[in-house]
Subunit: 226 residues, 2 copies
């Protein structure tokens, strides 16, 4: 990556993507933040995304709306499926079918228009080992696709899909982001926050986040309802 | 493909996707038609998609809205870029960045929810050789991605991305579709139809379509303004 190169960074408003944006900024890239409003139940995430981008900084922030709930199949888009509050085996019901494929496709579309070659996504294979589209094999397959899917690629460009958190524990992510000045009080991880944006403290995402701050030895700024 | 298996078919309202839907139906599949309203200038296409699905038949038809014009970069989404009316070299300005990657991602999301393994897309590498995401290498790269991107894939499922028109000429497509009973009068190919849905007769898509009917020796049902 050359300094001042444009990069598209997917920003959800969660802890991981806030850290990813801070890492891309720290690398000297001009960051174009992309959020996707995908009919999720936790729209409070988008408010968090706006706060994160304002605080960490970016050249632009675009929010693309689409209705993935039209397809159903996930507790995060289908209000009839409950968010689990105990540990589950295998791929959780909070998995949204092909979500990161859709997100990276949109990032690729914008990257091509911007003449950017670098795309950042805050996926993590440690805490989210149950999600297929958070694994290194997925990132590598998307990179291979990007080169044949685009005008830029057929003209010789090589895209890079950066997933700087993919092998880190939650505690390592928090330590890294804290060193970069990320204010995690602005981020929302909870799968079912209340209207005020307060975390439930019980869902898998809250449990992982809480344990991460404890393991990192960093004070947890989250406002938990429970 | 087993008969009566569910399949997701991308339907734009154009000649190619109408033929693709007819081919999938003829194979005995239960077709779930997917159209994407992507901020295109030619929204008349969506009306055509509805007519095509009603005539050819499908179990369901879903239209997902998203605003690809947020990214710009194409004559089909950016009103400040003119649709060319003479032949151009290289990749045309009507190329929409990463469009088929986005479309296939959405089809994959729905396929996973439906427990479908077959996805149909009416891309064509003969007439649209300038579009990178209409080529066999793109289709193969997406297939490889689908298996690692999904819960179904990590559990052993193998997705198939069917592009039955990819090596056909426009005349061959028209002959095939006519034999399957497709009424091409319901389809719209024009990049800049008027409000009544009448084709301009001058853009690249109109020129290819017109020449295709002539070469096929099939009467052209299109209403051209010019």
């Amino acid at each position: 990556m050359r300094p001042q190169a444009p990069a598209v960074v997917l920003v959800s408003g969660g802890l991981d993507s806030a850290t990813t944006l801070a890492i891309a900024r720290d690398a000297g890239l001009r960051c174009f933040a992309l959020s996707v409003a995908y009919g999720q139940r936790h729209e409070v995430e988008l408010d968090a995304a706006r706060r994160v981008v304002a605080a960490v900084g970016a050249e632009q922030h675009r929010i693309v709306s689409m209705d993935l709930s039209a397809f159903g199949g996930s507790a995060l888009t289908d209000p009839t499926i409950a968010v689990p509050e105990t540990e589950t085996e295998g791929i959780p019901v909070t998995y949204v079918p092909a979500r990161n494929t859709v997100f990276l496709s949109l990032a690729l579309a914008w990257a091509e228009t911007l003449d950017a070659r670098d795309i950042f996504i805050g996926v993590n294979a440690v805490d989210y080992s149950g999600y297929p589209d958070c694994r290194p094999a997925f990132i590598e397959a998307f990179r291979a696709l990007a080169d044949v899917a685009t005008r830029a690629g057929t003209e010789g460009a090589r895209f890079k899909i950066h997933a700087p958190l993919i092998e880190l524990t939650k505690a390592e992510i928090i330590i890294r982001g804290t060193a970069l000045g990320v204010d995690y009080g602005q981020t929302v991880s909870c799968y079912q926050p209340d209207r005020a944006g307060r975390a439930c403290g019980r869902c898998e995402s809250c449990r992982i986040r809480r344990a991460g701050f404890a393991a990192a030895g960093v004070p947890d700024p989250t406002s938990y309802a429970d």
